[in-house]
């Protein structure tokens, strides 16, 4: 009997892509989280089709509770809450992607360089990170708000991106540290691989999953920050957002008048979107770290 050639000791490895997909489709947290987010995403595109109005149209009776004509009721000025809601959703998702994306990008650049190069580069980047953390970025926003009387979602997203990156930078830095000192990287370095090649072929693939999770957290965080800023009145001036809806509601006595349809939906949407983002993140963590997988 000729000895057969077996290629690896131990368990056969499925191709990497299939393995993740396989677990992803079986993980409840990812399934539910993704479903909720997709629902809101679809609502953002499809929702406006059901309404003829724009968000600041005065179309109906003041402070009317939900009815078959006005699905989410109207505000004290007679604006349609449903219309405001779906447009507000769009604003929220935009802020999440742009603000969160920008924050992740800056965080990755800063964190990766600090973690990989170490030494002086690390020290300097650390100081910069700490300063951005400590500075009342709020104050800077006030100045910007005072000068830019007309502000849009873009401005807000960019601002959030430039101020929320320190958390991402810290996380990426510590992850880079731990990967950099792993044996397989040392091996690549010793075998004379060029640093850029090492980054792309050895370190990056292992960080991809981590970066995805960092982005998701930044996305959710951006939405929360935007909601808070909007609520104080430092948000966009030329459109509606979920935070602004809550701001107006409180400002115009929705609480005392019991107009729950005005302030409950926007907050509920934020909780649902950000919450499912977080839970999806936990599921992704389980998929990417085999130790946590359910059997």
């Amino acid at each position: 009997m000729k000895p057969k050639k077996t290629d690896k000791i131990g368990i056969t490895k499925l191709k990497k892509k299939n393995e993740f997909l396989y677990f992803a489709l079986r993980n409840n947290k990812v399934k539910v989280g993704l479903a909720i987010i997709l629902f809101f995403l679809i609502l953002t595109f499809v929702g406006p089709l059901f309404t003829d109005y724009v968000w600041d149209d005065y179309i109906g009776p003041f402070g009317h509770p939900p009815s078959s004509k006005y699905w989410f009721g109207t505000t004290t000025f007679g604006q349609d809450v449903y219309t405001q809601f779906v447009f507000g959703l769009k604003a929220a998702l935009l802020v999440g992607i742009i603000g969160g994306g920008l924050g992740t990008l800056i965080g990755v650049i800063v964190g990766f360089n600090a973690g990989y190069r170490g030494g002086m580069v690390d020290e300097v980047l650390n100081i910069i990170t700490n300063i951005v953390l400590v500075i009342p970025t709020f104050a800077i926003l006030l100045i910007i708000a005072a000068y830019l009387k007309v502000r849009g979602i873009m401005t807000e997203s960019i601002f959030i991106g430039f101020t929320a990156w320190p958390w991402a930078a810290r996380a990426v830095r510590s992850q880079t540290f731990s990967l950099r000192s792993r044996d397989f990287v040392d091996l690549a370095r010793v075998s004379g691989m060029k640093p850029l090649k090492i980054i792309f072929t050895e370190i990056a693939p292992n960080m991809m999953s981590y970066l995805l999770m960092v982005f998701i957290l930044q996305f959710g965080g951006a939405i929360l920050i935007a909601a808070t800023l909007d609520f104080i009145g430092l948000g966009p001036t030329n459109t509606i957002s979920l935070g602004l809806m809550m701001n107006y509601a409180v400002l115009w006595g929705a609480l005392q008048l019991g107009m729950w349809w005005w302030f409950i939906p926007p907050g509920l949407a934020i909780v649902a979107i950000v919450g499912s983002l977080y839970i999806m993140n936990v599921g992704l963590d389980e998929i990417f770290s085999p130790k946590l997988r359910e059997m």
Binding site: M1, K8, I9, G10
Partner: protein, 320 residues
């Protein structure tokens, strides 16, 4: 004391099926015996000892029995096993360097452990101190944190802790792998001394370093791919092994004084089989130089002469 293991099987549950990491181990250890457990990585050594002391998911109990001093160990029941752990069966784990809580002073951790197991501190603490003297550790270590100790010191501390209650069976899992040669010698000599002083009755010493086992073990058991290959006294294993795997293993050891130009170092070609769907029959069949058709049947682990067990079809007839 004696340890009687009968047909112990434990598999790892994975989504692609059960990995048959331990597929029927039957052997005995006598009172006062130090048995060395040798074999390649992934042959089932750690699975065997974990099966005996800490059988937890994803490792699954399939069948078999383990009898220590004629008492059946409820290895399938994590809670019931607690009564036996530390007192009757104990382990110096593979990760002994990290085995102690980094944020607790060693002495405090030890006393809290003993208290939680309802053991009187009054009698055991003095004994602990005496044993520290034995392994040449100053009593000050009790007031230190693990990070303050060197690797060898941590190893010796774990040795003292694990054997504090004089267990009948001590398992030492690769305790010398991370140490330098002179510390290795010191540690294994302490193991033997503990047995001689009857702090422990018997031991299973796992190592893939056969030269260590040669120094301290009374008998050696060789495993391959989840099954037992051979068990005999140390001298027999080293000088006259019968199982083809053991033979190749011993002959592939470099010997001092032999030059490359005189004799090339032979290795074992090929790899161990995948244990997800192990091949039928003898698992060494595909790499074995003397395999023949009977090897398609699983060879039983049979005593071919006194205290010498082998699982090989070719070897059974010889002594009859």
């Amino acid at each position: 004391m004696s340890l009687k293991v009968k047909n112990l099987k434990a598999y790892y549950q994975t989504l692609r099926g059960d990995v048959k990491a331990l597929d029927g181990a039957t052997f005995t250890i006598k009172d006062g015996e130090i048995m060395g457990l040798a074999g390649e990585s992934g042959c089932g050594k750690t699975t065997l000892v974990h099966g005996m002391i800490y059988l937890s998911p994803p490792l699954r109990f399939v069948e078999g029995s383990v009898k220590l001093d004629d008492k059946e160990l409820p290895i399938w029941d994590m809670d019931k096993m607690n009564a036996f752990r530390f007192k009757d069966i104990s382990i110096i784990p593979q990760y002994a360097m990290n085995a102690m809580n980094p944020t607790r002073k060693i002495g405090k951790m030890a006393s809290e452990l003993l208290k939680s197991r309802k053991i009187s501190l009054k009698t055991t603490m003095p004994e602990l101190k005496r044993r520290l003297d034995l392994v040449e550790l100053s009593h000050d270590v009790l007031n230190m944190y693990p990070i303050e100790l060197s690797g060898g010191m941590k190893q010796r501390m774990v040795l003292v802790l694990s054997t504090l209650l004089n267990p009948s069976l001590l398992i030492a899992d690769e305790i010398t792998s991370a140490l330098d040669v002179s510390t290795q010698k010191a540690v294994v000599e302490m193991l033997v001394e503990f047995r001689d002083r009857e702090f422990v009755k018997s031991m299973i010493v796992i190592s893939h370093d056969i030269s260590i086992l040669y120094q301290i073990a009374d008998s050696i058991m060789v495993m391959y791919a989840g099954k037992l290959a051979e068990k005999a006294s140390t001298g027999v294993i080293i000088h006259s092994p019968r199982h083809p795997y053991t033979r190749l293993l011993i002959s592939s050891l470099p010997k001092i004084g032999v030059k490359y130009s005189e004799k090339k170092l032979t290795g074992l070609p090929g790899n161990t089989p995948l244990l997800l769907n192990p091949p039928a029959g003898c698992r060494f069949r595909e790499r074995c130089p003397i395999a023949f058709d009977k090897c398609l049947e699983d060879p039983p682990f049979i005593e071919i002469e006194k205290d010498h067990f082998v699982a090989c079809w070719k070897e059974y007839g010889k002594n009859a």
